[in-house]
């Protein structure tokens, strides 16, 4: 199947005053992909999303939506984007119907199709029964849904959601996630979030940005590989000398934990568990525990965002 690139970001940078908030970020998004955009607070996620949605001009770099440059022809490019900022842009004095109708007009949906688009968006976001209520009187979860409805009413090719599940209750979060998964089928979605399991359950691809620099861009499968065990904990009743354990095929290092427990590091492609068990039986080491240690996405995230230094900081230190 032909890969249909909907968003292409090339060498994007953005300065605020003297501070560089986003530094040389490039990535692509193809149709039908859900991209998880991760990073600590203040890492430049929101800035990047604002630039892609045309709310902010980049200091350097290029963004094309569906092949259209957002700076050269903003109107044409924006027609393909639905954007839900961190704080949904809602007019609280309007009812849900009035508000969505206004959004439909703003997005230049022809008059004949507006009602259908409105109904479809309300249906997808579960807003049918609150259409006549004032947005001001809705609960936070419903407001969030109105915000999503606003972003998808014109069936844009790209939907950008900035922390769509913040502040929602667990049931609402599940519903919104279901909605995002559904959106991912015929739109491309960029999703920024702090909730890592959300990324694991929703996204095809993960991007981690830290201090304005892209530090990881990988598919979910690639990430699973990274998450695979590279260490395990074994407990032996009659432990041999540590060198004997080191000699087991595939083991890189052994770290004694006391009480006959050891952490053994190995290469992911070269799992020594089987050999180790066989040797333990053979030499009567009294193996009673063998636990592979899996790295969670959270650990990868912390690992990457802690150790990676932004290039300029490294230069300063030098």
């Amino acid at each position: 199947m032909e890969r249909d690139t909907l968003v292409s970001v090339e060498h994007l940078s953005r300065d605020y005053g003297g501070m560089r908030a986003v530094d040389d970020v490039s990535f692509e998004l193809v149709r039908g992909e859900i991209l998880g955009f991760l990073g600590p607070n203040g890492a430049g996620k929101t800035t990047t999303m604002q630039i892609i949605s045309g709310n902010l001009a980049p200091t350097a770099g290029r963004v094309t939506i569906n092949g259209i440059d957002i700076l050269d022809s903003p109107k044409a490019a924006k027609a393909h984007i639905g954007y839900l900022p961190e704080q949904p842009p809602l007019y609280r004095e309007l009812t849900v119907d009035e508000y969505l109708m206004y959004c439909a007009r703003l997005n230049r949906i022809p008059a004949a199709d507006r009602q259908a688009a409105l109904t479809a968006a309300k249906q997808r976001c579960g807003l049918i029964e609150v259409g006549r209520r004032l947005i001001d009187h809705l609960s936070k979860g419903f407001r969030q849904r109105v915000g999503i409805a606003q972003a998808i009413i014109h069936a844009p090719a790209v939907v950008i959601l900035d922390e769509p599940t913040v502040g929602l209750d667990p049931i609402q979060i599940r519903e919104i996630r279901g909605l995002i998964r559904e959106l991912g089928r015929d739109h491309s979605v960029i999703l920024s979030t702090h909730i890592l399991p959300e990324v694991q359950s929703l996204c095809n691809r993960v991007q981690i940005i830290n201090k304005g620099v892209m530090v990881l861009n990988d598919t979910i499968e690639g990430l699973r590989q990274r998450m695979q065990a590279s260490s395990m904990v074994v407990a032996l009743r009659r432990a041999p000398a540590i060198d004997q354990l080191r000699a087991v095929n595939g083991v890189l290092d052994v770290e004694p934990l006391g009480d006959g427990r050891f952490r053994m590091h190995y290469k992911p492609e070269d799992d020594p568990a089987e050999t180790l068990a066989a040797q333990a039986v053979q030499h009567d080491w009294g193996l009673h525990e063998l636990t592979p240690e899996r790295m969670s996405l959270e650990e990868i995230f912390v690992d990457i965002t802690r150790t990676e230094q932004p290039p300029d900081a490294a230069e300063e230190a030098a």
Binding site: S53, A79, G82, Y83, P85, P89, L90, L94, C103, R108
Partner: protein, 246 residues
């Protein structure tokens, strides 16, 4: 598209108690001025017989002269939230991410507020028109007054809109607009009769007064149109520039 934005602006205005209370307050003040002036007219009427001075000069011109001052106080309150409030409640993002140009956003907002101000001007002009029930009105002068007020409102609104794009705080926008309007109003108070000076020419008041006197000069009309266009253009420019700096 401009109509859509203007429609939303007008709708939100009428959904807020602010617009209604402003309409009510303005109407009460203007009605009081109108009635007080009518009383004066009745007192003077015997002495005016035979002169060319009529009810239009005594009542209508005076009413519109005062309307301008009242509007100077009121318009900043209406224009203050145009952009600043949207920026504060983050709804500007909706307009920025929609396929809408900055020009359309600004013109939509401007026309929305102008529609409201014209309603206000219309309600005020009903009072002089009520004189037609029993008497005569110099329609030429009256038309010049209505035109003058409309042009004045157009320039007030454009300045208010521009100042609203400068700040996130609606109150600061209101204070700034009021200050700027007042300054432009008194600009020709500078000593001497320097009626040709640049400052006098820039004064909002001078052009209004000549229209109120029934002197229809295209110079005055062009002044107001240029004034409005300038600030509309500046607003568009400012909104566009916001994406770059921030």
């Amino acid at each position: 598209m401009i109509r859509t934005i203007a429609g939303r602006e007008l709708r939100s205005l009428f959904l807020s108690p602010l617009a209604w209370s402003i309409l009510a307050v303005v109407q009460v003040i203007m009605a009081y001025i109108f009635l007080a002036r009518m009383e004066l007219f009745f007192q003077l009427q015997p002495r005016l017989a035979g002169t060319s001075i009529g009810v239009t000069d005594i009542v209508v011109t005076y009413l519109y002269n005062n309307a301008a001052v009242v509007m100077m106080l009121i318009v900043p309150l209406l224009t203050m939230r145009l952009v600043s409030e949207e920026r504060r409640s983050r709804t500007l993002t909706l307009l920025f991410s929609a396929p809408v140009s900055m020009t359309e956003i600004i013109l939509g907002k401007y026309l929305g507020i102008m529609a409201f101000l014209l309603v206000m001007a219309g309600v005020i002009s009903l009072m002089p028109l009520s004189l037609l029930i029993w008497g005569n009105l110099d329609m030429g002068k009256f038309a010049a007054c209505v035109l003058g007020l409309t042009l004045l409102l157009a320039s007030f609104a454009s300045l208010g809109l521009f100042i609203s794009t400068l700040t996130v705080q609606p109150t600061i926008a209101a204070v700034g607009t009021f200050g700027a309007l007042l300054l432009l109003w008194v600009l020709d108070w500078k000593g001497g009769d320097g009626s040709d000076s640049v400052l006098a020419y820039l004064s909002l008041l001078r052009h209004y007064v000549s229209l109120l006197q029934g002197v229809f000069s295209s110079r005055d009309v062009i002044y107001y149109l240029l004034f409005s266009l300038t600030f509309i253009a500046l607003s568009i420019n400012r909104l566009d520039g916001q994406r770059l700096q921030n």
